[in-house]
Symmetry: C2
Subunit: 346 residues, 2 copies
């Protein structure tokens, strides 16, 4: 049984701090229209797509800060963003969109939603679990901040895999599945969302694929020259960008392979405000860990490919058949212990 979908990462280039949100949304709509010409069925937009990557700025004025968030429960009703969902519905293309979410009680989350064009609604919401950076800004005014731990609360929705209807023609349905017949890998595609730094945490991928996820999708804002944050040795800006891209690619390829799933990554990239450099590298990766398609620029760019979800089966049924091979009795510490406990000194 073939389970083919045409998918895309919609990479988004520089978004300056004074960008008009309506114009930014129009850029996303342009990418969506390009996707329609390519017969794409699902487009993944980056993390915090609607504004510049504001956690790099120390913003003390609450009103100023709030401009970078979407307010309320339902992003599809945000006046500036609504046209994107309307276009998605009109073109019949599902979308994943990342944005800063301000809940009615005032909590901030780094959020993404999966919007189903065929259902005309948000099917799933994910709030970023692994927030990098610091609560307090750096003392050195020349250092670039990463204040996600200040502006956001860690996601409280866990990693909930979900099925997306309307993408695969011959998916087994609840109404037609016979008693006792295995429908594993045969229903509507099983998906999960991550956001940026989550991709470096194998726990996140594993929780999704323990639910059978065949496709993981994430956006990112990753500094090309943030070696002071990411822990690399002092290096030239060119080498630092190469290193950041190397790590991003490495974890996407390896985690796709070790979880026998496809993955789509979409970068917010380029030179925000002409001075903050973010890596590109948006890509689509196979369950064997190979890059199928990747961005060639650091601008707005659609990266697309036809993928066959049934290719996940070879990994899921052999090397990574969890039911035969995983040994949870040896994994205790992973959920018992947050930090490191070293063996005693000799």
């Amino acid at each position: 049984m073939s389970r083919k979908i045409i998918v895309a990462a919609a990479q988004v280039g520089a978004v300056h701090i004074d960008a008009d949100k309506k114009q930014t949304v129009q850029r996303l709509i342009n990418l969506l229209q390009e996707a329609a010409e390519k017969h794409v069925q699902l487009v993944v937009f980056p993390e915090a797509t609607l504004t510049t990557f504001f956690p790099r700025h120390f913003i003390e004025n609450q009103e100023e800060l709030d401009k970078h968030f979407e307010h309320g429960e339902d992003i599809t009703q945000s006046p500036d963003v609504k046209p994107l969902f309307e276009e998605s519905r009109k073109l019949g293309i599902d979308i994943v969109l990342g944005y800063g979410e301000r809940t009615p009680d005032g909590t901030g989350f780094n959020t993404s939603v999966y919007y189903s064009a065929s259902e005309g609604k948000v099917l799933s919401k994910y709030r970023k679990v692994h927030l990098p950076g610091t609560v307090e800004p750096f003392a050195d005014p020349a250092a670039t901040n990463q204040l996600e731990k200040r502006y956001f609360t860690p996601g409280n929705l866990g990693f909930q895999a979900f099925r997306a209807p309307g993408l695969v023609a011959d998916a087994a349905k609840k109404s037609t599945a016979k008693d006792g017949e295995s429908t594993v890998g045969k229903g509507d595609p099983i998906m999960g969302m991550l956001i940026c730094n989550d991709r470096r945490w194998p726990e996140a991928w594993r929780v999704y694929t323990l639910q059978g996820a065949e496709l993981l999708m994430f956006g990112y804002n990753t500094g090309a020259n943030m070696s002071h944050l990411w822990g690399s040795k002092p290096m030239s800006p060119q080498d630092a960008e190469k290193e950041a891209l190397f790590h991003s690619r490495l974890v996407q390829q390896a985690n796709s392979y070790m979880n026998a799933c496809f993955s789509i990554s979409a970068a917010r990239c380029g030179w925000d405000d002409g001075k903050y450099d973010l890596i590109g590298g948006s890509s689509i990766v196979s369950p064997e860990g190979h890059v199928i398609a990747e961005a060639k620029t650091k601008n707005d760019e659609l990266v697309f490919a036809e993928i066959d979800l049934s290719e996940c089966r070879q990994g899921k049924e052999r090397t990574f058949d969890y039911s035969r091979h995983r040994r949870i009795e040896a994994y205790d510490l992973i959920t018992k212990q947050t930090g490191v406990v070293e063996p005693e000194l000799l």
Copy 2:
């Protein structure tokens, strides 16, 4: 504080099914003597180093099968292998050795030990947790078996990190550490052992680095043309070997990076009995995921490098500072659930 050690992977080429164990051990001693000339302090030998990779053979005769195991509690007293440990002690080089272990009660394990030259004893034993392959041989007599699940029981010792004394000159000691002073990353090196297939399971790496492991060590026997086992699409023998090497390298690099630890991998490789091809690729990888040194051949070969364990700190204290960034409340499924549970059909 510099925490430098000179380490090596001792790659071992073909070992035929009729090989004389004494001669195989002599090859290991030769590699150890070469290591001494290079001032190496720690040598990692492959998985099941002492015999051909026997799980590829369906051996029904118990006596025949038992020839491939070391018997009893203490490998250092196995008559054929004892000279290796004596040489290790004499040269002052610690070793990791993989072998088939038959316990006094008759259980088989795929085991490796860490032998400390300065202590003159086995400091730690590890029994392979993630056994690949099948219990029953393939029906097709032309297929190469992988009978680890038949010959071995899954390891019952978990993933126990340990400290190795005598390698780092200025390691903080229990007797000198002051009350309340942090000794994190300052004592004798913290290590862990994996075996072959374990390297593909991020859970294994994580359990070790939750104990502060700075160096993970593993041997492997990985078929260069076992695409029917590893789940790859039909491909030429050349492409299959490239793919097997790609996956092996990918998981070692990514897991070293995501766990901010060094790793050493040692291959049993080459053409056993002139017909079973195993990949080489023994290597030493940094906590940033870069290959520092790697094998150039598929024969007996020493791959060595000086590593500075203090380079783990940059990852462990920033991007992968578990205490600040891990969110165990979202990881439940990892230890609750062995196999996959898919979301309901729509």
